[in-house]
Symmetry: C2
Subunit: 396 residues, 2 copies
Amino acid sequence: MSSASSVDDFPTVGIIGGGQLARMAQQAAIALGINIRVLAAAEGDSAALVINDVRVGNHDDPQAVFEFAEGVDVVTFDHEHVPPSILRELQASGLSVRPGPDALIHAQDKIAMRRALTDAGLPCPSWGSIAADAPVEQMREALAAFGEKVQWPIVLKTSRGGYDGRGVWLADTLEEAVSIVEGNPLESPAAWLLEERVTFRRELAAQIARSPHGQAVAYPVVETVQTEGICREVIAPAPDLDADLAIAAQSIALRVADVVGVTGMLAVEMFETADGLLINELAMRPHNSGHWSIDGAVTSQFENHLRAVLDLPLGSPAARAPYSVMVNVIGTDKGDLYSAYRHVMARDPHLKVHLYGKTPRRGRKLGHVTVTGEDLESLRERAHHAADYLAGVIDE
Amino acid sequence: MSSASSVDDFPTVGIIGGGQLARMAQQAAIALGINIRVLAAAEGDSAALVINDVRVGNHDDPQAVFEFAEGVDVVTFDHEHVPPSILRELQASGLSVRPGPDALIHAQDKIAMRRALTDAGLPCPSWGSIAADAPVEQMREALAAFGEKVQWPIVLKTSRGGYDGRGVWLADTLEEAVSIVEGNPLESPAAWLLEERVTFRRELAAQIARSPHGQAVAYPVVETVQTEGICREVIAPAPDLDADLAIAAQSIALRVADVVGVTGMLAVEMFETADGLLINELAMRPHNSGHWSIDGAVTSQFENHLRAVLDLPLGSPAARAPYSVMVNVIGTDKGDLYSAYRHVMARDPHLKVHLYGKTPRRGRKLGHVTVTGEDLESLRERAHHAADYLAGVIDE
């Protein structure tokens, strides 16, 4: 792998992780004249295919991370799995890490997140926790007490490492809950997070960008549709959202960013309930709920993430169309992606196709499509058709 | 330099030349999941900084070109300077070259262009030619006869190699014309192209994308403003353009593409005169007059160039805003680019900045800025201010 120097006084952003988020950040970096260096797990990683300055190594190997970070101006992330101890050492060596480990812990550990948000008076579902090494009888008692308090069923989550629906269970009864915790032994510092099962109308996400000196911009609040824990569809802005609720969602995201000290993009996933908003999850990086912004906003989440971590003035997050609809292309074991791609382009010349350079595999996010315009029902039909066709789910 | 393979059935486009056009094509390729390989003159070239698969070599070195082309699915261009003999050999080896050498000659040789367009009945200024090796007395006679026919002053151009105002002279008298041809000896196959000096209201450009099987889409006709032969500003669409004239300009571009057999993007630069349109120059690649399309059109010229040369269905060229204004950032010997960049971002959060990774140098195209919206005068003020500030021409 190689490196070449650009204009001397333009910075290099080091991104740990070579997934599609780093890939899409490269599109923004090309326009900005910013250099990106990526630490990818393999040469064939999504971002490694489209970036000149690639280092191959693991995000939890201190030596690989230190070698990668040498000479970059700021370190940021494609994912949230880098051990805080490595990030603290990077900081101690004088490097800017954005978001820093003290912020990032709230995206890495769901119990740390619940504690910080609850302490700050931010709206969360009822929750409790059980240590990974608690004796079985103590676990059973805690589960029984929590289930009685919030009413069964309850949600069980591993505090660390869950992603796209993994690490989340629904338990209808105490016996089910006990068998889940017994069947999935955790290693400390991971622990069990217990949450009430929230009855919600729909899921929303509020994204903000925040720079080290405190400038922040809030994107339009979006509706997200999840299937089996994986983001499937995003509508920007969330249709028929009460204006006060939209402002409340943006205010919550700005408060969260301030409370946990985020720099860069922050996504706050929320439930819209009959009684208002409840915070579900946080992501401290560009997020699937913001992919619409590439085609639908004045400044994409990827551009604003780069601008934020470099402490550059932020760009306008305003929408460029009445509606943008984004649908993920999730792999199946069928279909010929390139031939499907020709078909969807021919069917809809306004469609924006984004593919991540990944070999199709069942359940894998291969890309997304976005359409922008006025007629929401037509936009949704077109986006879903294209995504399903690309995934091989339909063939007409 | 290194290369890594992506999804097996997705094509690789080989681009000869590592300038900003190949750089901006990479942004489109990232979304499309298409791989780009670039043949750059140097590792630090604009495109070479942001592409994974870079070969370093000269476009007129047959061996460098053949090695570069091995394994790509189609060869296309960042500039028009590759010798036709090399392209014919590539074609003979079974490779797709788009546009092919028989089309490209009309962008490489202005006399071939004038001849083909005149034969097809397309509107050109009055023109004539003089062979490079013509005896001085014969040159003088030809210049005198042409000057008499079209009225002095006349325009003299070298048929090959001119660019951004180089290779073009205005001669007020026969003596001036003779001293220009005597002072600038040409080597065959270059020759002298003589043209009438056109009195025009303004300059327009019409861009189309055309695929090998003949599908074509026409972009909105734009107004271009040149300073010292260098494109300075583009307004899309051209303001107050008569609807019939706009259709005439698009029809001319489609006819030109058909007559010369272009695949990919074609830009036709024209003069708007009191009597209608006259064709000035052709470019068979993404062109400065289409940079606005990255931010201002549904499908950028870079995306449609890739789609066209791969024979994929073309994307909509429709504008996304009432007006887009693009202004080039042309280097001076003053200023600190990164600090200016912070300033323009802070002043205008809607501004789209595009920098090419080039070290500032007097007269060098360093990047461009685009703003989109409704109020043309405000858009022009904002775009010019940002471009001048980035160039170091103003500091307030």
